[in-house]
Amino acid sequence: MEVTLNINGVEQSHDVEPRTLLVQFIRESAGLTGTNIGCDTSSCGACTVHLNGESIKSCTVLAAQVDGMEVTTIEGLAQSDGTLHPMQQAFHECHALQCGYCTPGMVMACVSLVEENQTLTEDEVREGLEGNLCRCTGYHNIVKAVLEVSEA
């Protein structure tokens, strides 16, 4: 079936099987490999993207279900001149990543979290990131980065 998505402002249509997962559509049909697959069972958050502005796990959504909608991936955050999104900049400055595997999903989850609540406490940040696992950082600097942006 034909599925059309607006990904990072670019409309694209691809002929895919109905069982195609959104994350496959993004990585394989659209060729945007910034979005990672970790657990493939909706537990780790590595595949987090925005659907119409809200964070979702793209390994647990069918591309067909979101036909015609707007998707933003990690590639869509920075400006075209390379200026990083404030959350990416804060991750950089707070050293909120080590191996980087969780980072695309983590950044997308963090952006959505701040958009929904601009007055986050540290506890709310930790709880709000319950759906994203990081095996390296111990989360501490990720929380710092989010607070930096939400207080800004």
């Binding site: 964070s55 279900q65 759906g131």
Partner: protein, 274 residues
């Protein structure tokens, strides 16, 4: 992991959904948020031949007040319920239980109708709805019928919904003055409950129910009866495991689950002012 092949049908009305169900019978499955169904399909534990997508039924996404009740459309997402001021004011227990579901990404997709129709005893939402004495409204070829929540869950992942019916609305009596508590015990924030408890106390009446303690969402009748005959929180909570048949798994043994049920009900009752 990729689900088995299926034919995808997108419908834009309740009538359209019912027609698809009638045409394809038990070969068809409705998909709402997909956050219970897709994981099962990816593990190939479920392989429907037809998937009927009801996500675009925007008419079923609402929270309203009607005749002293909150009425909630089946397709309303968890994130819209937990943040809704009417729900927070008139059914705070439901807002709290919904907030405890999974994580923000899951709550952006999952729907209240899907959470109930799935009939999972480990789900937080049915437990809150039991304590709140909700009514489930289902629509089929013959029209709509109201099912008291106590009659809705009939077995493990089994509900009173017929193959050709869909869940369209949930009615929750408004109880703005009730005291309530939602208790969930798990190891990591995002996890399902190892055991959970919903407690509601309103005008001397109580509603007490348990998560993951039985083959179905479970009303702790023995606790409610103890409270009605004047027991305090400690005495009433001692009855919490009566009638339950929890399973034993990697997280907890049967005995430990029963212990948790008593502890969580006691905490809940105390928090609800008993």
């Amino acid at each position: 992991m990729i689900p088995a092949n299926f034919d995808y049908l997108r419908v834009d009305s309740v009538e359209g959904a019912l027609e698809a169900l009638q045409e394809h019978g038990d070969e068809a499955k409705l998909i709402a948020g997909g956050h219970s169904l897709l994981p099962l399909m990816k593990f190939r534990l479920s392989a429907p031949a037809y998937l009927v997508d009801i996500n675009r039924l925007d008419d079923l996404k609402y929270v309203r007040e009607e005749n002293g009740s909150l009425v909630i459309g089946a397709l309303t997402r968890h994130s819209d319920i937990e943040a809704n001021s009417l729900v927070k004011k008139n059914a705070g227990l439901l807002a709290s239980a919904t907030h405890h579901v999974g994580d923000p990404q899951v709550r952006h997709r999952g729907t209240i109708g899907g959470a109930i129709a799935h009939g999972d005893p480990a789900s937080d939402i049915p437990s809150a709805l039991l304590a709140l004495n909700a009514t489930v409204v289902v629509t089929g070829p013959e029209g709509t019928r109201d099912i008291p929540i106590d009659d809705f869950f009939v077995g493990f992942l089994e509900t009173d919904l017929k193959d050709d019916e869909m869940l369209t609305q949930i009615k929750v009596p408004s109880v703005p003055d009730a005291k309530w508590s939602f208790q969930k015990f798990n190891r990591r924030a995002q996890d399902w409950a190892i055991v959970g408890a919903s407690v509601l106390v309103n005008n001397g009446q109580s509603g007490v129910s348990l998560v993951n303690m039985h083959s179905t969402p479970f009303r702790a009748t023995a606790v409610e009866e103890a409270i009605a005959s004047g027991a305090n929180a400690k005495e009433a909570s001692e009855q919490a495991a009566i009638g339950t048949e929890p399973t034993s798994d990697i997280n907890a043994s049967v005995e430990y689950r029963k212990h948790l049920a008593r502890v969580l009900v006691k905490r809940g009752l105390e928090e609800a002012g008993l």
